[in-house]
Amino acid sequence: MDFFLNRFPVYLDGALITLLITVLGSALAFVLAMAVGILGTLRNPVARAAATVYTEAFRGVAALVLLFWFAYAIPQITPYELSPMFVGVLALGLNVGAYGAEVVRAAINAVPAAQTEATIALNMSWLRRMRSVLLPQAWAQMLPTFGNLVIELMKASAIVSLINVADLTDVAGRMRASSSETILSYGSALVMYFVIAQLLIVGMRTLERRANRRLGRAPARGSLLDLLRPPTPGTKVGTAE
Protein backbone atom coordinates (compact mmCIF):
# COMPACT_ATOMS: atom_id res chain seq x y z
CA MET A 1 0.00 0.00 0.00
CA ASP A 2 2.85 2.37 0.86
CA PHE A 3 4.27 1.77 -2.57
CA PHE A 4 1.11 2.97 -4.25
CA LEU A 5 0.43 5.86 -1.85
CA ASN A 6 3.92 7.29 -2.30
CA ARG A 7 3.68 7.15 -6.04
CA PHE A 8 0.02 8.03 -6.36
CA PRO A 9 0.64 11.56 -7.74
CA VAL A 10 2.82 10.16 -10.53
CA TYR A 11 0.24 7.51 -11.39
CA LEU A 12 -2.46 10.16 -11.33
CA ASP A 13 -0.51 12.26 -13.86
CA GLY A 14 -0.30 9.21 -16.10
CA ALA A 15 -3.99 8.46 -15.64
CA LEU A 16 -4.86 12.04 -16.60
CA ILE A 17 -2.88 11.71 -19.84
CA THR A 18 -4.64 8.41 -20.53
CA LEU A 19 -8.01 10.07 -19.89
CA LEU A 20 -7.12 13.06 -22.05
CA ILE A 21 -6.17 10.81 -24.98
CA THR A 22 -9.34 8.78 -24.42
CA VAL A 23 -11.55 11.87 -24.47
CA LEU A 24 -9.88 13.48 -27.50
CA GLY A 25 -9.64 10.19 -29.37
CA SER A 26 -13.29 9.41 -28.66
CA ALA A 27 -14.30 12.88 -29.83
CA LEU A 28 -12.44 12.39 -33.12
CA ALA A 29 -13.82 8.87 -33.48
CA PHE A 30 -17.35 10.09 -32.79
CA VAL A 31 -17.23 12.84 -35.41
CA LEU A 32 -15.75 10.46 -37.99
CA ALA A 33 -18.23 7.71 -37.12
CA MET A 34 -21.21 10.03 -37.49
CA ALA A 35 -20.01 11.57 -40.74
CA VAL A 36 -18.93 8.31 -42.38
CA GLY A 37 -21.86 6.36 -40.96
CA ILE A 38 -24.40 8.78 -42.40
CA LEU A 39 -22.47 8.76 -45.69
CA GLY A 40 -22.93 5.00 -45.72
CA THR A 41 -26.72 5.29 -45.55
CA LEU A 42 -27.01 7.56 -48.60
CA ARG A 43 -28.29 6.27 -51.88
CA ASN A 44 -25.41 7.85 -53.82
CA PRO A 45 -23.03 4.97 -54.71
CA VAL A 46 -19.93 7.21 -54.60
CA ALA A 47 -20.71 8.28 -51.03
CA ARG A 48 -21.32 4.68 -50.00
CA ALA A 49 -18.09 3.50 -51.64
CA ALA A 50 -16.11 6.23 -49.86
CA ALA A 51 -17.61 5.15 -46.53
CA THR A 52 -16.76 1.50 -47.20
CA VAL A 53 -13.17 2.30 -48.14
CA TYR A 54 -12.66 4.27 -44.94
CA THR A 55 -14.17 1.62 -42.69
CA GLU A 56 -12.42 -1.34 -44.28
CA ALA A 57 -9.05 0.39 -44.41
CA PHE A 58 -8.99 1.66 -40.85
CA ARG A 59 -10.64 -1.37 -39.35
CA GLY A 60 -8.29 -3.67 -41.20
CA VAL A 61 -5.04 -2.09 -40.06
CA ALA A 62 -4.01 -2.51 -36.44
CA ALA A 63 -4.01 0.66 -34.33
CA LEU A 64 -0.37 0.05 -33.45
CA VAL A 65 0.61 -0.03 -37.12
CA LEU A 66 -1.25 3.22 -37.72
CA LEU A 67 0.43 4.75 -34.71
CA PHE A 68 3.92 3.82 -35.85
CA TRP A 69 3.14 4.85 -39.39
CA PHE A 70 2.15 8.35 -38.28
CA ALA A 71 4.96 8.58 -35.73
CA TYR A 72 7.90 7.21 -37.72
CA ALA A 73 6.99 6.93 -41.39
CA ILE A 74 5.34 10.32 -41.92
CA PRO A 75 8.37 12.35 -40.71
CA GLN A 76 10.52 10.52 -43.26
CA ILE A 77 8.65 11.54 -46.37
CA THR A 78 7.15 14.84 -45.27
CA PRO A 79 8.75 17.74 -43.43
CA TYR A 80 6.21 17.31 -40.64
CA GLU A 81 7.03 15.81 -37.30
CA LEU A 82 3.78 15.25 -35.42
CA SER A 83 3.69 15.52 -31.65
CA PRO A 84 3.35 12.08 -30.00
CA MET A 85 0.11 13.04 -28.24
CA PHE A 86 -1.41 14.17 -31.52
CA VAL A 87 -0.27 10.99 -33.26
CA GLY A 88 -1.89 8.91 -30.52
CA VAL A 89 -5.22 10.72 -30.74
CA LEU A 90 -5.14 10.55 -34.55
CA ALA A 91 -4.33 6.83 -34.77
CA LEU A 92 -6.86 5.81 -32.11
CA GLY A 93 -9.56 8.15 -33.42
CA LEU A 94 -9.20 6.95 -37.02
CA ASN A 95 -9.19 3.31 -35.96
CA VAL A 96 -12.12 3.40 -33.56
CA GLY A 97 -14.02 5.82 -35.81
CA ALA A 98 -14.10 3.12 -38.47
CA TYR A 99 -15.78 0.70 -36.06
CA GLY A 100 -18.16 3.45 -34.95
CA ALA A 101 -19.15 4.27 -38.53
CA GLU A 102 -20.45 0.74 -39.00
CA VAL A 103 -22.46 1.08 -35.79
CA VAL A 104 -24.00 4.37 -36.93
CA ARG A 105 -24.83 2.98 -40.36
CA ALA A 106 -26.42 -0.16 -38.94
CA ALA A 107 -28.41 1.82 -36.34
CA ILE A 108 -29.82 4.25 -38.90
CA ASN A 109 -30.72 1.40 -41.23
CA ALA A 110 -32.42 -0.41 -38.35
CA VAL A 111 -34.94 2.39 -37.76
CA PRO A 112 -38.26 0.96 -39.04
CA ALA A 113 -38.84 1.80 -42.70
CA ALA A 114 -42.29 3.19 -41.87
CA GLN A 115 -40.60 6.04 -40.04
CA THR A 116 -38.75 7.07 -43.19
CA GLU A 117 -41.91 6.67 -45.23
CA ALA A 118 -43.77 8.92 -42.81
CA THR A 119 -41.13 11.65 -43.15
CA ILE A 120 -41.46 11.43 -46.93
CA ALA A 121 -45.24 11.62 -46.66
CA LEU A 122 -44.86 14.72 -44.48
CA ASN A 123 -42.54 16.21 -47.10
CA MET A 124 -39.67 16.68 -44.68
CA SER A 125 -36.27 17.66 -46.05
CA TRP A 126 -33.42 15.12 -45.73
CA LEU A 127 -31.81 17.20 -42.99
CA ARG A 128 -35.01 17.46 -41.02
CA ARG A 129 -35.68 13.73 -41.38
CA MET A 130 -32.22 12.87 -40.06
CA ARG A 131 -32.22 15.42 -37.28
CA SER A 132 -35.67 14.97 -35.84
CA VAL A 133 -36.73 11.43 -36.73
CA LEU A 134 -34.00 8.98 -37.69
CA LEU A 135 -31.03 10.04 -35.55
CA PRO A 136 -32.86 10.29 -32.21
CA GLN A 137 -34.12 6.73 -32.64
CA ALA A 138 -30.83 5.39 -33.97
CA TRP A 139 -28.98 7.19 -31.16
CA ALA A 140 -30.51 5.01 -28.45
CA GLN A 141 -29.41 1.95 -30.35
CA MET A 142 -25.89 3.20 -31.00
CA LEU A 143 -25.06 4.11 -27.43
CA PRO A 144 -24.44 0.65 -25.92
CA THR A 145 -21.97 -0.22 -28.68
CA PHE A 146 -20.39 3.24 -28.44
CA GLY A 147 -19.85 2.54 -24.74
CA ASN A 148 -17.89 -0.59 -25.59
CA LEU A 149 -15.90 1.28 -28.21
CA VAL A 150 -14.93 4.02 -25.74
CA ILE A 151 -13.59 1.33 -23.38
CA GLU A 152 -11.75 -0.30 -26.29
CA LEU A 153 -10.20 3.05 -27.17
CA MET A 154 -9.20 3.67 -23.58
CA LYS A 155 -7.50 0.29 -23.39
CA ALA A 156 -5.86 0.70 -26.77
CA SER A 157 -4.47 4.06 -25.62
CA ALA A 158 -1.84 2.08 -23.70
CA ILE A 159 0.09 1.83 -26.97
CA VAL A 160 0.99 5.53 -26.88
CA SER A 161 3.53 4.61 -24.20
CA LEU A 162 5.49 2.97 -27.05
CA ILE A 163 6.00 6.35 -28.72
CA ASN A 164 7.04 8.00 -25.46
CA VAL A 165 3.86 9.59 -24.23
CA ALA A 166 3.85 9.66 -20.41
CA ASP A 167 0.55 7.81 -20.00
CA LEU A 168 -0.41 5.33 -17.30
CA THR A 169 1.41 2.42 -18.96
CA ASP A 170 4.54 4.51 -19.37
CA VAL A 171 4.42 5.52 -15.69
CA ALA A 172 4.05 1.87 -14.69
CA GLY A 173 7.06 0.93 -16.81
CA ARG A 174 9.18 3.67 -15.27
CA MET A 175 8.09 2.75 -11.74
CA ARG A 176 9.05 -0.84 -12.40
CA ALA A 177 12.47 0.18 -13.73
CA SER A 178 13.18 2.37 -10.71
CA SER A 179 11.83 0.07 -7.99
CA SER A 180 11.90 -3.39 -9.60
CA GLU A 181 8.56 -4.09 -7.89
CA THR A 182 6.93 -5.67 -10.91
CA ILE A 183 3.66 -6.76 -9.34
CA LEU A 184 3.05 -3.48 -7.53
CA SER A 185 3.99 -1.17 -10.37
CA TYR A 186 1.98 -2.91 -13.09
CA GLY A 187 -0.75 -3.96 -10.68
CA SER A 188 -1.37 -0.34 -9.64
CA ALA A 189 -1.68 0.69 -13.28
CA LEU A 190 -4.09 -2.15 -14.05
CA VAL A 191 -6.28 -1.21 -11.10
CA MET A 192 -6.37 2.41 -12.27
CA TYR A 193 -7.31 1.32 -15.78
CA PHE A 194 -10.08 -0.78 -14.27
CA VAL A 195 -11.38 2.21 -12.29
CA ILE A 196 -11.31 4.46 -15.36
CA ALA A 197 -13.22 1.80 -17.31
CA GLN A 198 -15.90 1.57 -14.62
CA LEU A 199 -16.28 5.36 -14.60
CA LEU A 200 -16.70 5.37 -18.37
CA ILE A 201 -19.27 2.56 -18.14
CA VAL A 202 -21.35 4.52 -15.61
CA GLY A 203 -21.19 7.62 -17.81
CA MET A 204 -22.29 5.75 -20.92
CA ARG A 205 -25.10 3.97 -19.09
CA THR A 206 -26.42 7.32 -17.87
CA LEU A 207 -26.48 8.57 -21.45
CA GLU A 208 -28.30 5.42 -22.54
CA ARG A 209 -30.96 5.85 -19.90
CA ARG A 210 -31.48 9.45 -20.89
CA ALA A 211 -31.76 8.58 -24.58
CA ASN A 212 -34.34 5.89 -23.88
CA ARG A 213 -36.35 8.19 -21.62
CA ARG A 214 -36.44 10.84 -24.32
CA LEU A 215 -37.90 8.29 -26.71
CA GLY A 216 -40.56 7.47 -24.15
CA ARG A 217 -39.19 3.99 -23.55
CA ALA A 218 -39.23 2.62 -20.05
CA PRO A 219 -35.97 3.72 -18.42
CA ALA A 220 -33.92 0.99 -16.83
CA ARG A 221 -34.45 1.86 -13.20
CA GLY A 222 -31.99 1.49 -10.42
CA SER A 223 -29.04 2.78 -8.51
CA LEU A 224 -25.47 3.56 -9.45
CA LEU A 225 -24.60 -0.12 -9.09
CA ASP A 226 -27.16 -1.08 -11.70
CA LEU A 227 -25.39 1.25 -14.09
CA LEU A 228 -22.15 -0.69 -13.75
CA ARG A 229 -22.88 -3.75 -15.76
CA PRO A 230 -26.23 -5.11 -16.60
CA PRO A 231 -27.09 -7.79 -17.44
CA THR A 232 -25.54 -9.21 -14.30
CA PRO A 233 -24.31 -12.81 -14.19
CA GLY A 234 -27.33 -13.67 -12.11
CA THR A 235 -29.74 -13.16 -14.98
CA LYS A 236 -30.51 -16.62 -16.14
CA VAL A 237 -33.03 -16.76 -18.91
CA GLY A 238 -33.59 -20.44 -18.57
CA THR A 239 -32.03 -22.97 -16.25
CA ALA A 240 -32.19 -26.70 -16.04
CA GLU A 241 -33.17 -26.76 -12.39
Partner: protein
Protein backbone atom coordinates in the same frame (compact mmCIF):
# COMPACT_ATOMS: atom_id res chain seq x y z
CA UNK B 1 13.24 11.17 -48.61
CA UNK B 2 11.00 9.33 -50.99
CA UNK B 3 9.54 5.91 -51.44
CA UNK B 4 12.21 3.39 -52.51
CA UNK B 5 10.57 0.54 -54.37
CA UNK B 6 13.70 -1.56 -54.64
CA UNK B 7 14.25 -1.38 -50.91
CA UNK B 8 10.58 -2.12 -50.29
CA UNK B 9 10.78 -5.29 -52.39
CA UNK B 10 13.97 -6.38 -50.66
CA UNK B 11 12.31 -6.35 -47.24
CA UNK B 12 9.17 -8.27 -48.22
CA UNK B 13 10.53 -11.75 -47.33
CA UNK B 14 11.49 -10.64 -43.81
CA UNK B 15 8.12 -9.00 -43.24
CA UNK B 16 6.33 -12.10 -44.47
CA UNK B 17 8.27 -14.17 -41.92
CA UNK B 18 6.99 -11.77 -39.28
CA UNK B 19 3.48 -12.12 -40.67
CA UNK B 20 3.76 -15.90 -40.30
CA UNK B 21 4.52 -15.44 -36.58
CA UNK B 22 1.59 -13.01 -36.31
CA UNK B 23 -0.78 -15.51 -37.90
CA UNK B 24 0.56 -18.38 -35.80
CA UNK B 25 0.09 -16.42 -32.57
CA UNK B 26 -3.43 -15.44 -33.64
CA UNK B 27 -4.52 -18.98 -34.50
CA UNK B 28 -3.18 -20.64 -31.33
CA UNK B 29 -4.29 -17.74 -29.11
CA UNK B 30 -7.75 -17.89 -30.65
CA UNK B 31 -8.01 -21.61 -29.94
CA UNK B 32 -7.15 -20.86 -26.29
CA UNK B 33 -9.78 -18.09 -26.21
CA UNK B 34 -12.48 -20.35 -27.71
CA UNK B 35 -11.97 -23.16 -25.23
CA UNK B 36 -11.29 -21.06 -22.13
CA UNK B 37 -14.17 -18.71 -22.97
CA UNK B 38 -16.61 -21.60 -22.98
CA UNK B 39 -15.27 -22.82 -19.64
CA UNK B 40 -15.62 -19.31 -18.19
CA UNK B 41 -19.16 -18.94 -19.56
CA UNK B 42 -20.20 -22.20 -17.89
CA UNK B 43 -18.38 -21.43 -14.62
CA UNK B 44 -20.13 -18.07 -14.48
CA UNK B 45 -23.49 -19.81 -14.20
CA UNK B 46 -22.45 -21.61 -11.04
CA UNK B 47 -23.14 -20.45 -7.48
CA UNK B 48 -20.22 -19.06 -5.47
CA UNK B 49 -17.57 -19.65 -8.18
CA UNK B 50 -19.61 -17.68 -10.72
CA UNK B 51 -19.32 -14.19 -9.20
CA UNK B 52 -15.58 -14.64 -8.55
CA UNK B 53 -14.93 -15.73 -12.13
CA UNK B 54 -17.07 -12.82 -13.31
CA UNK B 55 -15.06 -10.21 -11.41
CA UNK B 56 -11.70 -11.68 -12.45
CA UNK B 57 -12.60 -11.74 -16.12
CA UNK B 58 -14.28 -8.36 -15.93
CA UNK B 59 -10.95 -7.03 -14.69
CA UNK B 60 -9.08 -8.74 -17.51
CA UNK B 61 -11.59 -7.46 -20.04
CA UNK B 62 -11.47 -3.80 -19.02
CA UNK B 63 -7.72 -3.37 -18.67
CA UNK B 64 -5.29 -3.01 -21.58
CA UNK B 65 -3.87 -6.20 -23.03
CA UNK B 66 -0.56 -4.41 -23.62
CA UNK B 67 -0.09 -3.81 -19.89
CA UNK B 68 -1.12 -7.40 -19.16
CA UNK B 69 1.51 -8.59 -21.62
CA UNK B 70 4.24 -6.43 -20.08
CA UNK B 71 3.18 -7.51 -16.61
CA UNK B 72 3.30 -11.25 -17.28
CA UNK B 73 6.45 -10.89 -19.37
CA UNK B 74 8.21 -9.17 -16.47
CA UNK B 75 7.12 -11.85 -14.01
CA UNK B 76 7.62 -14.98 -16.11
CA UNK B 77 10.73 -17.09 -15.60
CA UNK B 78 13.31 -16.68 -18.39
CA UNK B 79 12.75 -20.27 -19.54
CA UNK B 80 9.33 -19.38 -20.97
CA UNK B 81 9.59 -17.98 -24.48
CA UNK B 82 8.05 -14.57 -25.18
CA UNK B 83 5.85 -16.14 -27.88
CA UNK B 84 4.34 -18.55 -25.35
CA UNK B 85 3.65 -15.69 -22.95
CA UNK B 86 2.13 -13.63 -25.72
CA UNK B 87 -0.15 -16.40 -26.94
CA UNK B 88 -1.29 -17.21 -23.40
CA UNK B 89 -2.02 -13.62 -22.42
CA UNK B 90 -3.83 -12.87 -25.67
CA UNK B 91 -5.81 -16.10 -25.35
CA UNK B 92 -6.87 -15.37 -21.77
CA UNK B 93 -7.70 -11.75 -22.61
CA UNK B 94 -9.90 -12.79 -25.50
CA UNK B 95 -11.49 -15.54 -23.44
CA UNK B 96 -13.03 -12.70 -21.45
CA UNK B 97 -14.74 -11.56 -24.66
CA UNK B 98 -15.70 -14.96 -26.01
CA UNK B 99 -17.21 -15.84 -22.61
CA UNK B 100 -19.63 -12.92 -23.03
CA UNK B 101 -20.50 -14.13 -26.52
CA UNK B 102 -21.16 -17.68 -25.33
CA UNK B 103 -23.22 -16.33 -22.45
CA UNK B 104 -25.47 -14.34 -24.76
CA UNK B 105 -25.79 -17.42 -26.98
CA UNK B 106 -26.73 -19.66 -24.06
CA UNK B 107 -29.19 -17.11 -22.68
CA UNK B 108 -30.67 -16.77 -26.14
CA UNK B 109 -31.82 -20.39 -26.17
CA UNK B 110 -35.59 -20.31 -25.77
CA UNK B 111 -36.90 -21.02 -22.30
CA UNK B 112 -39.22 -23.69 -23.67
CA UNK B 113 -36.20 -25.74 -24.69
CA UNK B 114 -35.03 -25.91 -21.09
CA UNK B 115 -38.53 -26.75 -19.93
CA UNK B 116 -38.82 -29.53 -22.50
CA UNK B 117 -35.53 -31.00 -21.28
CA UNK B 118 -36.88 -30.94 -17.78
CA UNK B 119 -40.14 -32.54 -18.82
CA UNK B 120 -38.19 -35.32 -20.48
CA UNK B 121 -35.90 -35.43 -17.41
CA UNK B 122 -32.79 -35.49 -19.55
CA UNK B 123 -29.50 -35.73 -17.67
CA UNK B 124 -27.56 -32.40 -17.53
CA UNK B 125 -24.90 -33.63 -19.94
CA UNK B 126 -27.49 -34.36 -22.60
CA UNK B 127 -29.26 -31.07 -21.92
CA UNK B 128 -26.04 -29.20 -22.68
CA UNK B 129 -24.63 -31.48 -25.33
CA UNK B 130 -27.73 -32.26 -27.34
CA UNK B 131 -30.06 -29.29 -26.81
CA UNK B 132 -28.47 -26.08 -25.52
CA UNK B 133 -25.02 -25.97 -27.09
CA UNK B 134 -26.02 -26.89 -30.67
CA UNK B 135 -28.48 -23.98 -30.66
CA UNK B 136 -26.22 -21.54 -28.83
CA UNK B 137 -23.11 -22.19 -30.93
CA UNK B 138 -24.89 -21.51 -34.20
CA UNK B 139 -25.94 -18.06 -33.03
CA UNK B 140 -22.53 -17.07 -31.77
CA UNK B 141 -20.49 -17.96 -34.85
CA UNK B 142 -20.57 -14.44 -36.36
CA UNK B 143 -19.48 -12.54 -33.22
CA UNK B 144 -16.82 -15.15 -32.52
CA UNK B 145 -15.52 -14.63 -36.04
CA UNK B 146 -15.24 -10.91 -35.43
CA UNK B 147 -13.07 -11.55 -32.40
CA UNK B 148 -10.71 -13.61 -34.56
CA UNK B 149 -10.09 -10.49 -36.64
CA UNK B 150 -9.68 -8.21 -33.63
CA UNK B 151 -7.26 -10.67 -32.13
CA UNK B 152 -5.24 -10.65 -35.32
CA UNK B 153 -5.07 -6.89 -35.03
CA UNK B 154 -3.93 -7.07 -31.42
CA UNK B 155 -0.97 -9.37 -32.12
CA UNK B 156 1.31 -6.41 -32.97
CA UNK B 157 1.32 -5.75 -29.21
CA UNK B 158 3.50 -8.83 -28.90
CA UNK B 159 6.32 -6.77 -30.35
CA UNK B 160 6.50 -4.98 -26.99
CA UNK B 161 7.62 -8.25 -25.38
CA UNK B 162 10.22 -8.95 -28.10
CA UNK B 163 8.26 -11.50 -30.12
CA UNK B 164 9.55 -11.39 -33.69
CA UNK B 165 6.19 -10.71 -35.32
CA UNK B 166 5.62 -8.30 -38.19
CA UNK B 167 5.82 -5.02 -36.25
CA UNK B 168 9.01 -6.18 -34.56
CA UNK B 169 10.54 -6.92 -37.96
CA UNK B 170 9.30 -3.60 -39.35
CA UNK B 171 10.81 -1.68 -36.46
CA UNK B 172 14.09 -3.58 -36.78
CA UNK B 173 14.26 -2.75 -40.48
CA UNK B 174 13.52 0.89 -39.72
CA UNK B 175 16.38 1.05 -37.24
CA UNK B 176 18.93 -0.79 -39.41
CA UNK B 177 18.27 1.00 -42.66
CA UNK B 178 17.03 4.36 -41.34
CA UNK B 179 14.00 3.85 -43.55
CA UNK B 180 10.71 3.40 -41.71
CA UNK B 181 8.32 4.46 -44.44
CA UNK B 182 8.53 1.32 -46.56
CA UNK B 183 8.57 -1.10 -43.63
CA UNK B 184 5.54 0.36 -41.83
CA UNK B 185 3.55 0.95 -45.00
CA UNK B 186 4.09 -2.63 -46.15
CA UNK B 187 3.23 -3.90 -42.69
CA UNK B 188 -0.04 -1.96 -42.90
CA UNK B 189 -0.78 -3.35 -46.36
CA UNK B 190 -0.07 -6.92 -45.23
CA UNK B 191 -2.49 -6.41 -42.38
CA UNK B 192 -5.15 -5.31 -44.83
CA UNK B 193 -4.32 -8.25 -47.09
CA UNK B 194 -5.19 -10.66 -44.29
CA UNK B 195 -7.98 -8.88 -42.43
CA UNK B 196 -10.13 -7.60 -45.31
CA UNK B 197 -10.61 -11.05 -46.92
CA UNK B 198 -11.26 -12.56 -43.47
CA UNK B 199 -13.89 -9.90 -42.83
CA UNK B 200 -15.57 -10.76 -46.13
CA UNK B 201 -15.62 -14.47 -45.29
CA UNK B 202 -17.04 -13.80 -41.83
CA UNK B 203 -19.72 -11.52 -43.24
CA UNK B 204 -20.72 -14.29 -45.61
CA UNK B 205 -20.90 -16.76 -42.71
CA UNK B 206 -22.97 -14.24 -40.79
CA UNK B 207 -25.49 -13.95 -43.61
CA UNK B 208 -25.67 -17.70 -43.94
CA UNK B 209 -26.29 -18.35 -40.26
CA UNK B 210 -28.58 -15.37 -39.80
CA UNK B 211 -30.88 -16.95 -42.38
CA UNK B 212 -31.18 -20.19 -40.42
Amino acid sequence: MNWDTEFAISIIPRLLEGLAVTVQATVIGYAVALVLGLVVAILRRMDYIGPVVFVVFEFIRTTPVLVQLLFVFALAPPAVTPLTIGITVLGVHYAAYTAEVYRSGIEGVAKGQWEACRALSLPPLRVWGAVVMPQAIRKVIPPLGNYLISMFKDTPYLFAITVGEMMFVAKAIGTEAFRSMEAYTLAGLFFLAVSVPSAVIIRRLERRYAAV
